[in-house]
């Protein structure tokens, strides 16, 4: 293992200390329990947005705390869900009197920990709503699995809900926006390499030089199929086809196209992916009205990409364009 770290057990703590030093104008960092919170929290009269998950997906979620996005983010250990006490303290810290929305990615651990936190917050008379994002078309949604994983759409949900909350919409209205993203967003990812969890010290799985993993999740968990490496264009076709066929897109639909880097893939390659994804969308008559390209929901140093497509309406487009000022995403300010 070759990593720019001091000790594996100090990775999350030292990362948080760095965030605190770098972005003190935007966020505060609370330790034991750990969470990143907006510098001006709680914002009175605004729905509070809390998300969280294992570390190793930076900038998600801590990098998305600030004006127009999250009010707080709870980082767990690397690839491990945070704990209910973190979520409860974060929820209390951002409660501005209009309720708090938990944006949860669909993983067994995240669900159970957020459920327990919501029960505890309820005990303290804070109104909490939860939306579970499950957009990964690589996983069959059936009674026989934990359901689809939450991946790229989570970033988009945090942006759109953050903008809606900033406009002082009610908890129910912010939940509606989140559900639109949940229902209209679909993703699929692939990996060229594995990744190494610092405390594990070796790659989570072996992926030979000439092979790739299609349908990968964001925790280095192996995907659905392994096959010989193909060209970028062929790979993009394999990712776009299941996404497009999953939601019945109509010709003329407006979409946001999000090409995400897994952490170890440079922008030069992500633009090659975007070029082909855009071409395929156009071939289906879809209008790409907004786009996001870059590493936003990563899997440590894994090389690979995921593509997310979100069907947009005019309200969602306005929310997307609204000002955002976070360490990981910033425009309009």
């Amino acid at each position: 293992m070759k990593k720019l770290i001091n000790k594996p057990e100090n990775v999350v703590r030292e990362e948080l200390e760095g965030i605190e030093l770098a972005h003190f104008d935007l966020v505060k960092v609370h330790y034991d329990p750990n969470f990143v919170v907006r510098a001006d929290a709680p914002v009175k009269g605004k729905v509070g947005l809390v998300s969280g998950g294992g570390s190793g997906h930076e900038p998600m979620h801590g990098g998305f705390v600030g004006l127009g996005m999250l009010d707080a983010a709870c980082p767990g250990a690397v690839f491990t869900s945070p704990t209910p006490d973190q979520m409860l303290e974060a929820t209390k810290a951002v409660n501005g009197g209009k309720g708090v929305l938990h944006i949860v990615k669909n993983y067994t651990g995240d669900i159970m920990n957020f459920e327990m936190a919501a029960e505890m917050a309820g005990g303290e008379k804070i109104e909490v709503a939860s939306v579970v994002i499950d957009d990964d078309v690589a996983v069959k949604d059936s009674l026989y699995t934990a359901g689809r994983r939450g991946v790229g759409s989570t970033v988009l949900a945090e942006k759109l809900c953050g903008a809606a909350a900033e406009q002082k919409r009610s908890l129910k209205e912010v939940v509606d926006v989140c559900n639109k993203v949940k229902n209209m967003g679909r993703s699929m990812g692939m990996a060229l390499t594995s990744c190494t969890v610092p405390h594990a010290g070796k790659p989570t799985f072996d992926l030979p030089e000439d092979q790739m993993e299609i349908g990968i999740g964001i925790h280095g968990e192996p995907g659905r199929t392994r096959m010989p490496l193909k060209s970028a264009d062929e790979i993009v076709e394999m990712l776009m086809e299941p996404i497009i066929s999953d939601i019945p897109y109509k010709s003329g639909d407006e979409v946001l196209l999000f090409v995400n880097g897994m952490g170890g893939t440079p922008l030069i390659e992500l633009y090659i992916v975007y070029r082909k994804a855009c071409e395929i969308a156009k071939k289906h008559g879809l209008k790409v009205v907004r786009r996001l390209i870059g590493p936003y929901i990563t899997s440590l140093e894994m090389a690979g990409t995921s593509i997310t497509m979100l069907k947009m309406d005019s309200d969602m487009i306005k929310l997307w364009d609204a000002p955002v000022n976070t360490p990981g995403m910033r425009w309009g300010v």
Binding site: G54, T80, T83, M112, N113, V197
Partner: protein, 212 residues
């Protein structure tokens, strides 16, 4: 003598040591079908438990179990945190105020722990989870209680049942947790959660081998 408070403390300490020793093994099992963190997470949690135990070592067994549960809940994370946290919280509620445990007390505590886990995780037998190790262990305890087995013998039998349940997860296709994303590819691997649950009961049987 039934299980005394000091026996309960000794069990938790012994398990913390087992987890430390088996940390890499559990993480390796999790690497194959999950996300390579089970051993590390459990080790972090039980190290925190060891730090907490002195505060409650003069309290009743229920308080000790509840403290273990709350500590695991706030330090383990992942799916293991809420599930092992629930196990000890539920067992703690059943044993509240008790300074010793009979076979009937222990059976009730473990049964409550298992129902709590099933409610929180919504897994059934055959889903390739810790429920596959715990369910036969609880059933065996209930049988032992009915047939008036000595306590140490019952504990040994329940650990053996947990081992069989754990081994039975190998050919299963996972239907809950992160391993379920793999579909058919999860078959052929032993479930890490069932493994740590078996170790918990095996450690109980070994630590409490002289109880009656």
């Amino acid at each position: 003598m039934p299980i005394q408070r000091d026996d309960a403390l000794a069990w938790i300490k012994a398990y913390a040591k087992v987890i430390e020793e088996q940390r890499s093994y559990l993480t390796d099992l999790d690497s194959a079908i999950g996300d390579a963190d089970h051993g590390v997470n459990m080790d972090r949690g039980f190290k925190a438990v060891i730090g907490k135990l002195p505060e409650v070592s003069d309290k009743d067994i229920g308080t000790i179990f509840k403290t273990v549960g709350m500590t695991l809940l706030s330090t383990v994370g992942g799916a293991g945190g809420p599930l092992y946290g629930t196990l000890f919280l539920q067992a703690g509620m059943k044993t509240a105020g008790k300074m010793e445990l009979s076979l009937s007390d222990w059976t009730e505590a473990l049964e409550a722990a298992l129902s709590g886990i099933v409610m929180r995780g919504k897994a059934q037998v055959g889903d390739k989870t810790m429920v596959d190790a715990l369910t036969p262990a609880v059933d065996t305890l209930k049988d032992a209680l009915r047939t008036n087995q000595p306590l140490n013998k019952a504990l040994e039998m329940s650990a053996e049942a947990a081992q069989k349940g754990m081994e039975a997860t190998i050919p299963l296709v996972a239907r809950k947790g992160r391993a379920s994303y793999l579909g058919e590819r999860s078959a052929g691997h032993q479930d890490p959660g069932a493994t740590s649950s078996h170790l918990l009961l095996k450690t109980a049987a070994l630590t409490w081998k002289d109880v009656s």
